[in-house]
Structures are given as C-alpha cells and as structure tokens.
Symmetry: D2
Subunit: 388 residues, 4 copies
Amino acid sequence: MVQFSDIASDLTRQAIELPSWAFGNSGTRFKVFGTPGTPRTPEEKIADAAQVNRYTGLAPTVALHIPWDKVDDYAALRRFAEDLGVTFGTVNSNTFQDDAYKFGSLTSTDASVRQKAIDHHLECIEIMHQTGSRDLKIWLADGTNYPGQGDIRTRQDLLAESLQTIYAALGEEQRLVLEYKFFEPAFYHTDVPDWGTSYAQVAALGDRALVCLDTGHHAPGTNIEFIVAQLLRLGKLGSFDFNSRFYADDDLIVGAADPFQLFRILFEVVRGGGYDEGSPVAFMLDQCHNIEDKITGQMRSVLNVQEMTARALLVDRPALLEAQNANDVLAANGILMDAFYTDVRPALAEWRESRGLPADPIAAYKASGYQETIVAERAGGVQAGWGA
Amino acid sequence: MVQFSDIASDLTRQAIELPSWAFGNSGTRFKVFGTPGTPRTPEEKIADAAQVNRYTGLAPTVALHIPWDKVDDYAALRRFAEDLGVTFGTVNSNTFQDDAYKFGSLTSTDASVRQKAIDHHLECIEIMHQTGSRDLKIWLADGTNYPGQGDIRTRQDLLAESLQTIYAALGEEQRLVLEYKFFEPAFYHTDVPDWGTSYAQVAALGDRALVCLDTGHHAPGTNIEFIVAQLLRLGKLGSFDFNSRFYADDDLIVGAADPFQLFRILFEVVRGGGYDEGSPVAFMLDQCHNIEDKITGQMRSVLNVQEMTARALLVDRPALLEAQNANDVLAANGILMDAFYTDVRPALAEWRESRGLPADPIAAYKASGYQETIVAERAGGVQAGWGA
Amino acid sequence: MVQFSDIASDLTRQAIELPSWAFGNSGTRFKVFGTPGTPRTPEEKIADAAQVNRYTGLAPTVALHIPWDKVDDYAALRRFAEDLGVTFGTVNSNTFQDDAYKFGSLTSTDASVRQKAIDHHLECIEIMHQTGSRDLKIWLADGTNYPGQGDIRTRQDLLAESLQTIYAALGEEQRLVLEYKFFEPAFYHTDVPDWGTSYAQVAALGDRALVCLDTGHHAPGTNIEFIVAQLLRLGKLGSFDFNSRFYADDDLIVGAADPFQLFRILFEVVRGGGYDEGSPVAFMLDQCHNIEDKITGQMRSVLNVQEMTARALLVDRPALLEAQNANDVLAANGILMDAFYTDVRPALAEWRESRGLPADPIAAYKASGYQETIVAERAGGVQAGWGA
Amino acid sequence: MVQFSDIASDLTRQAIELPSWAFGNSGTRFKVFGTPGTPRTPEEKIADAAQVNRYTGLAPTVALHIPWDKVDDYAALRRFAEDLGVTFGTVNSNTFQDDAYKFGSLTSTDASVRQKAIDHHLECIEIMHQTGSRDLKIWLADGTNYPGQGDIRTRQDLLAESLQTIYAALGEEQRLVLEYKFFEPAFYHTDVPDWGTSYAQVAALGDRALVCLDTGHHAPGTNIEFIVAQLLRLGKLGSFDFNSRFYADDDLIVGAADPFQLFRILFEVVRGGGYDEGSPVAFMLDQCHNIEDKITGQMRSVLNVQEMTARALLVDRPALLEAQNANDVLAANGILMDAFYTDVRPALAEWRESRGLPADPIAAYKASGYQETIVAERAGGVQAGWGA
C-alpha cells in the first residue's frame, strides 16, 4: 500500500502551464459573455495567471498566443512576468482568424496563403527566442465543410511540406508540437483529425517534432489513456492540453466532466514515464471559462490535476502487476479504484501548508481582495477575448 | 412501380421556409468570415430570400428572428416582402444573447429574468400578429456547464410554468413549437435536450403546442426518422428545421452530409401523413453557410429537399408493404433503395420548366447578375450576422 | 456539511435486486467463456445470489428471467429462496430467443406471432402470482436491420395494442415496466429506442405502467441523470437496470466505467424523491460478468451502488441550492464534488459491522470457502447461460 | 463530364473477395437464427460463394477463416473451388474462441498463451502456402474490460514482439494485414483500436505488413475516407473489410447504412491510386447476414460496391480540381454529388450483359433454383456458424 508520504516528494515537480487566453472572455458561436475584471492586455492576463501560481504553487509558466498576446517589447513582457514569479512556456500560433485562411492555411492550395501561414510561424519562432519559450504549438483549424470541397490527399502533402519549412527554422532547443482535433471549426474533414495523423506528420519531421494531445479533441468513446500509453511508447508525446468535455470540444475545467478518465490518463502518464524527472512531456491547460470565474476556474483546474496526479501516484503498482499477471480482473481493477477513491485532499492541504502555501488556495485567493481590485480597476477598455 | 408523372402534382404543394439569418454571416466561435454582398438589413435578407423563391418556386415564406429582424414598421416590412413574392412564416425568439440570460432564461431561478424572457415572447407574439406569422418557435439555449450548477428538476418545472404563460398569450390561430437540442451552447445539461422532453412539455400545454425537430440536434447515431414517425403518430410534429451534420450541430446544407438519411426522414414524413394536403407540419431550413455562398447555398438546400421528397414519393408503397409482410428483408430494402437511387433530376428539370421555372435554378440565378449587383451595392455598413 | 451519521439511517433502506442470469455465463457474439462453479439450475443461481445478500445485506431480492428460470414448482422455488434469505422481485420476459421472433414479437405484423408473445407475457404474469413478484419487465429486442425492412409506424401501433392486452391482464398490485434501448440486437431501428418512446407507450396504458431505465441503453453522450429527473417529475420512473459502459451496451459492473456518472444519477434519484421511503422506484442490476468472477462481481456492484448512494446523500443540499441561486457556478459544482470525493468506505465498513455484517464483504465471502465448494461440486451438467 | 463508356473498362478489373463465414449463420449475443440451406461444410460455403461470382462476375476469390474452414486436404479444397471458378484469398486467423485466449492472445502476459497464438498463425501461414493465399489477416480481439485489468503499455510491447515472430515466418510473396477495431469484444481497451496503432505496429515490421481497414470499426463520426487517403499516402493500406453500420460494428451489407459514405471512401480509393492496375489494396467483404438471405445478401453487397465504384469513377476530376482550386465550395461539392446521384444501374445492367452476365444477377440467381436445391439438400447436419 502506497502512502501519501511516499509520493509527497514526487508532487513537488508538478508544473502545469496556464494559457493566457483562459483569462480572457470566451464563449460559443451564440454568445461570448463578458465578466467584470477580465484583462484587457497581455500584462493583465499574466498578472492573473501569476495569482494562480501564487496560491497553488503549481503554475509557474504561461503560454502565449500570437497574435492575441503580441506586444512591442517581449523582453519587457518577460521581465514583467518574472517579477510576478512566472515565465513563458509554449507559444501558440493562430492560423484561423485571418480572412486569408478561410479555406486553409498550411494546407491551402494557394501558395501565397501557405507562405503567409509559414511566415506567421517563423514570427512565432522569433518571439519564442525572445520569450525563452521551448515549444511552438500548432493547432490547425484547416479542413473542409463539404465533401469534394478540397482534395484531402493533396492537403496532407502540402501540410507535410509546410511543416518541414517551419521545423527547419526551429532553434536547437526548440520543439514543434502538433495538435490534432476531431472536428470544429471544420465540419466535414479536418487536416489533422487524430493522433495517427499527427504522429505520421511529426515522425516525418524529426526528433524535436512531437504530438500534442488535447483531452477534448477525440471522437466519442475514445480511450484517451491508450493514446497516452502509445505515444509515450513511441517517444512522441510532447504535451497535453488539459480540459474536459461531455460532448465535443466543450473546453470545460479539466476533471470536471469525467474525473475517473483524468485519473486513468494520469496513471498512464506515470506508468509510461511521462511524469518522471526530466520527462519531455509538457502539461498545460486549454480551457474556456465561458460562464464561471476565470482565475478561480484555473485554480480549480490545476488543483484537479494535482489531486489526480496524487491518486495516480498512489496506485500500488507492484500489487497491480501481480493481480494483472494472475488475470484477477476484479482484484486488479480494485487496486486501481482504491487509489482513485482515496480522498487525497486533506493530505494535500497539509502538504501545501508545509511548503508555505495556503491549505485552501481558492479560499486564500478569494480572501486576498485581488478579484475586487481588478473588477474595480479594469473598468473601461476592451476585454480580452479570442479576437484580440 | 411509381412513375414521376404519378407524383408530379404532389410536388406542387411543397413549400420550404427560409430563415432570414441564413443570408447573414455565421461561423464558429473561432471566426465568422464575412462575404461580399452580405445583407445589412432585414429588407436585404428578405430580398435575397425572394431570389431563392424566384428561381426555385419552393420557398414562398421567410422566417424572422427577433431581435435580429426587428424593424419599426412590420406592416411595411410585410408589404416589402409581398412585393417580392414572399410572406412571413415562423417567428423565432432569442433568449441567448442578452447578458441577462447568462444562466438561463425561461428556466432561470431569478423570477425577473424569467419574466424578461416571457415578455420577449409576448413581444414576438405581438410581432406575429403584425407579420401574419402562425408559429412561434422557441429554441432554448438554457442549460448548465457543470454538474451541480443548476437544479435540473426545478428548472424543468420553471420551464413548464414559463411556457404556460406564453402559450396562454397565443392567438387562436397561432402555435408554439418547442425545439430540442442535444447540447451547445450548454455543455453539461440542456433543459430541452431531446424529443421526449419537448413532447412532455408541449403535451402539458395544449393542442397548439407542438415539437420542432431540428435534424442536427440529436446524439450521434440517433434514428431521426423514428422520431418523425413517432411524433406524427402522437400528433405532435409541428415543424422541421432542416440541415445536416457530420459531427454535432454543424448546420450544413440539408442532405449534404447524409443524403440517405434525408431520404428516410422524408419517407417517414410522407408515410405518416406529414406531407399530406393540409398537414400541420411546417418545413423550414436552419443552416449556416459559414464558407459557401449563401443564396446559392439556400437554393441548393431547397432543391435537395425537393429532390429527396420526389424520391420519397416514388417509393412503391404497396410493393414495400407486401415485402415487409412477407419478411423479405432484402426485397423490402431493395424497394426503398430503388427509389433512392433513381435520378430524379432530369424529370424535375422538365417539371420546373413546365411551370415556368428555370430547369437549372442555380445557373439561372448566377446568370441573372443579382450576385454581382449586391456585391457592388452592399459596400459599407455592417453585415448582418447572429449578433445583429 | 452533512456527516455520515446524518445519512446512516437512510442507508438501511437500500435494496438492490440481483438478476439471476448474472450468475450464469455470458459473453459476446464472439465467445461465451465458461467459469468453474457456474450454476446449472435456477436453484444454484439463487443460492449464489443469496451469498451476495448474506455478506452485503444489500440484495434481498432476485429477478427471474422466463424461460431461463422456468421450473415446475414456483412455490417450491420460492421456499428455497426464502430459506436462503431472499425473495423474488421482477419477472423478465424473453421475446428474442424463439425462432418465431426473428422479425419481431409484440410488434410483429404476423398476428399469430404477436399472440404468441402476448401469451408468453400472460404466462409471466401467472408466474409472478406464484413467485410474489410485483414487476413484469419488458425489454423488447424488436426492431429491424435495414431501412424499409419494416414499417416503423405500424409496428409502434401494434406495440401499443399488444401492451394494452398485457397490461389488462396484470393483477391489481402488479406493474409493467417497459425498458428502452438505443440499439442491439436490431441495427437499424429499435421499436423502443429511447425514454420518450417508453414514456409515450406507458403513459397510454395507465398508472401501473412505468419506464425502466437501463443505464447502458443510451446514445453516446446522453445525460442520463436528466432523464432520471424528468421521469421522476413525470411520475413514470419505475425501475433501474444498473450497469456501466464505455462504448455501447457493454454491461460492465455498475460504476466501473464512469463512477461520477453513477454519482450524478443517484443524486438526481435522491433529489427527485426516488430514494424516499416508499418510493416506487425499483433498483436492480443488469450486467454481464463475461470475464470476471460472477459472485464477487455482483458484490462489487451492489457495494458500488451503496457507496455512491452514500456520497449522493452526503451532498449538502441547502448549501448547493444557495450557490445555485447565486449563480456561483464553481461553488455549486464544488459542493457536489466535495461529496463525490469523500471517501465513504471506512465509514461504511464501520456501519456494516455495526449491523452485523462484515466490514469487507468480498474478503469475508472469499474466506468463506463457498467459491471453492461450488467449483468442486458443480462439475458436470450444463452451465447456465443466456440460452438456458 | 465523364461518361459511363469512359469508365467501363476500369470496371472490368474489379474483384471483391467474399468471406466464407458470411454464408454461415451469425447473430448477436442474444440469438443466432438459423436459415434453411445454410452450409454445413467449407465446401458448401465455397459452393455458395461461387454462386455469387457466377451471377455477378465480381467475386473470384474466397477468404478462409481458420479454424472454421479447416480441412484435411487443402489441395483438394483448392481444386474444388477452382472447379467452381473461384480461388482462395486471405486467410483469417482466430485468437478469440479458444478458452486459452480469455485474457489475451498475442498480447497475453502468459508466454505460453502467446506462443499458442503465434503457433496458430504459423499454421495459418502453412495453410496459405497450400491454398495459394497472399494475405494473412490478423484481427485481434485482445483487450480488457476494466481499467487496471491489464497493462496497456506492456501489452503493446508484447504485441510488437509476437507480430515480429509471425512476420518473420511469412513467405516472400505473402503479406500480413493487421486490422484495427474500436471496441468489442473488449469493452474498456482494445489492443489495436485505431488506424494509428495498426500503422505504428506494421510500420515497425516491414514492407509486407500493412493495415486492414474494416469500415465498421471506427468511433462514431470518424471520417473514414480521410484514413483511406492517409494510409494510401503512407503506402500502408493493405485491404478493406467492407460492411456498413448505423451504430457499432453492425456488420450490415456494405452501402446499406450510408451509401454516400461508401461513395466517398471509394472516391478516395480511386483518387489515391488504390484502384489502379496492380494496386496492392485488397477489397473484401466482412458482414453478417443475421436475418436476411446470405447468398443474395452477398450479391447485393458486391453489386453495391460495383455501383459505387462506377459512381466514384464518374467524378469529373479535372473539373473538381478546378473548382477546388478556385475555392468554389458549392461547385466542387456539386461535381462530387453529380456523380453520386447518377443512376448507374441501367448502364451497369447493359455492361453486364455485354460481358455474358445477367443484367439482374439477383433475379437470375433466384430463377436458377439453386436456393431451393440447397434448402432441400442441406437437411440435417450442423449449420456452419462462427463456432465451427
């Protein structure tokens, strides 16, 4: 039986990257609701992200999205962040909001559109050098809405070509992670719809090209932990975009829709070495707080990941292996469930306190008055969202 | 064997209502692309809708959406439409874009929010009197994103109460149609998620409350034609919102994603009397032409419905019944497929010409120069979309 | 904050019915694996079921399946069961294994087949009188595999007619529960595919006709707890068939695939009065232990239901309501999650001991030697399965 | 515009392999219905398969399933088949029906079970030499039903190892095709659940290891034609198992559930060179005629493939490319749909007659009296099914 004390030191290396855009407004095609206190600038987003880290100790890096987080002086932005105790992680490109990309970006049959999209990534790489980011994340909205609209095969070849150019421009220490998504915004075919496609594409590029797994980007019923195990086995799991979903790409708080799934995913991460010291796997959130508070929403999210990681670490793996090898189905399942049903929250609260963090980070944040301050101070201006 | 000549007269009574908003811009949460020539006013939308009817003879009515189509003088708008050969059909309410509805409208636990939503419907009913509309269509975005966020049961009771008030305000000749939707924009629970809920709610209201079936609003794999048959049997099928989907509520052109499904749906409509003279079932489109041309997109849609209706009418029902009663599975299926695989397009082209319509409506429209004119004339202003 | 002591007395009224067939072999179309010790007779199934009750105190009744559990003398079978501390619950009919039902049973267009199926149900009612069963459960495999094979509408009318005859034959204290299922064994249309259909059919019958909700019989993504809330609201939730699934009708151990879903379902049961003293809702398992041990599989199942019921009862409903009414999304969700994440197992172990039950029922059963005995004694004969 | 005469010669090279087991009985876990005339021996299955080829000219090869089609003398079986005008194609292994495989076969943690499964494949290879078969098809039922039951990662490694041994035993002209399947009979994880896994596994083996795509083995909503295009691009599409489905692995007649999907699949096959002279792609059926006639069911199936191939060949690809490059969404889609809606049946009937085949193969078969003969002659004995 694994005890919390056995895993306490493993928890210290947990770091979950926050997406800057999670602090801006988001919504559906039907409506984007605003919220008092929403940031209006990259700096304000970073300030909010730093709050999450301050109270949880779990979120030392922030992911940027270009052009939403474009600034004139990235060095200054970096200092601003560092002063607040956070640094920059992944840079996310955007090839879905320029009118030029209506029918595709890196897969466009129009060479000038492809070049524009490639150039955007080269700009992102340049920004990465300035922000000290390791990962260039490409989520590609490219696809078609109607059968016949595009040539699926040609687009795949064009994608390979475009990615090659981008990959070649990466610095030695930089990586490219290619995200896949089942559907949306394209409704017939998506150019990178599944892990197999992402894997085939990055395998053709080289060692520093890896797959990004967004937990909300699969067909109904997909066994995501299997993909985790497989990509770790193939040495190609680069990063996670955590969130949860009941239906499609709902982008809810990670662990909210199916906590047991999150547990199984994290167990395979641990099992496959993805949580080991020095693991190449980056952990990140990618969520939309459409109606709930954003800062506490992000706190809830990193705490959910932490709690589930603790449970995954608590699995008695030697006993599990024994039951598995004995084909004792119920015993093996029971060992897993035992860890899942363990209430790690009290032990984590203590552990946090022992490290100078509040036992209840959300309560501490609420008591701090920060929320009231930003609601008061951030009057006027344009609240940040996906468009800006 | 049924011949086209046997069904030609049945085709004359086909009428498919167009949604005014299909002529405005639409998109996803990631981007709404604009298109040259997009209408900026209700009048321009109606003018475009009238073009669809002019060349196809299939779309004599236009559905309005309040507040998107609010005008000062509905009588004038009605004359404007009638001068262009179309009249007004359904009035669609909107309880998802006001900030007040962030956590619900007709189901809100806040009585003042419910009243606001009820008042909006009373205003719609008043507009219906002015526009000569029969149907008030309620699609409710209400729902929650997280388990526990709302009390599912209480909300259902509040919905019943709100609907009762609205229903009571209907004129003698007016109807209420309640649409259901599997999910989106709510991602955990939706207050009217399935036909059963819509049916239970409208059955409690009275004879003039009916179900609206949107073909894109079901769980994956749902047999929609079964629901059609069931609702017709229960006397509660009020109207259709036609569109098609590969994944979720994609809102693609009707028949584009699964033509055979459209055929099966229309066959059950015919079988169940929903296409009979005097049938209470209203046929309407509800689609989003995110990337394709809107006017020709609507033309393609009504033609798809017409072509499939023709195929559904061509089914040799006496032979089918005989094969069914003999449990000859392949023969019965073959009789259905025979109609589906019949290429009705040449006969329909001839039939159109015999009625003074162009054989190829889309080509005729394209040759008319209308598109070039609106692209040129509709410079400036704000293109209509879901927000306005 | 609700304490375990507050809910302890509520737990005493929990009773979960066991299906006799869960103790026989089951499998997929690919293979049914046998297991040493599998019962060969209804008596042996009942003896195994009694073991589950003996160690958990949760399963005082057993459901029978006719003809699988046909015996010459039901009074003797009843005494046999009572001697082992259990009584009989639901009687399940079977209209899917006789060659006559290849193309339908209660919906067959052949009047003699319908009569045969009706007569089978009349026989079941007769058996119910002898076994003291209250509920006649009808799960109908009827449906078609190919479009056109059957007339969906006519079949629905025939179903209504057949059910009426059966309903009329019920005793005053007997009930009819109609189960729905999304698909399988029919692969195109199923005659009772969703709760709406089951509801419409039983509503037409009368007060003693109710819906049976099998948790594995829904389309992917369906919000089952919503259906629970709705059926309770409509007064038509008759019974549950508990199991769990990752994909289709997998019939796994309840709570195994998505424990949080089970929690949400049970919370709505509690919320809607379905767990109240005297509630008409019957709780039953319907699972297939294809590869795991059957007796301990059933134990695991009833314990899962008990643990989740405890968590559902622990929800601080006044606090929840307050957060809901304040539209505090994260707080409301947090209150629900707090109960879900509470580890009720130690308190339940104590509670069991306080009632003379073993703290760990599965360990106690394993230590009892029963399994070894039946493996040794049940050599020879034909192991019970779905066919016998 | 492509004319039928332009594609007529392309149609002559179409060959669709029939699975011997399609002529035996099949069903669901609920019931396998027998049918008069069902074969009792491999010879009788082959005789029935030969009928399909005789009347359609489309099915010159038969796939065998070991052990279901085990005989003492394969040379004799081969002569028997050749006398009837057919030869042997793929040999399908079976690692799901032996009690030893309850918890896995090629992935079992028990080395002796793995060896047994490997030996079975070596035996299949030996049979292939005798039957003149090129392809060894491996569909692996391996997987688990409960989280924790097995170690996903280890099983994947064991699979790679087992496959390597089998691959090494292949003759120079032989190939291994690895089929993937979303789920069933395993209900939690499947060891080869998706094309990515099959691709990663066969890529590690060598050039003569390829992916087998069964059209019914995907998650809901999966864009199958995309996978076709991708695998052709990667040079790894080995074969098809054709069938259709509304829900899961329904194994209905190919084209029956979604004819447009079959069209899109075949269009990508043509587009990607999979139908070219000398293409390595093998086309095969894998279906279950649970309730419909088997011989005419197979006829209907190969005719469906032929009709859809004709439509796919009719697509005006130069015009399509032009519309695609112009981003004319509706025009491009329209060109595809134009081919789909073309009724190729009359031209195919003529074409068949011109080649000495009956215009209506099914009618010709029915008129032949073969069915009546086998019904009369095949009295007694045990009808073939999946178990024998």
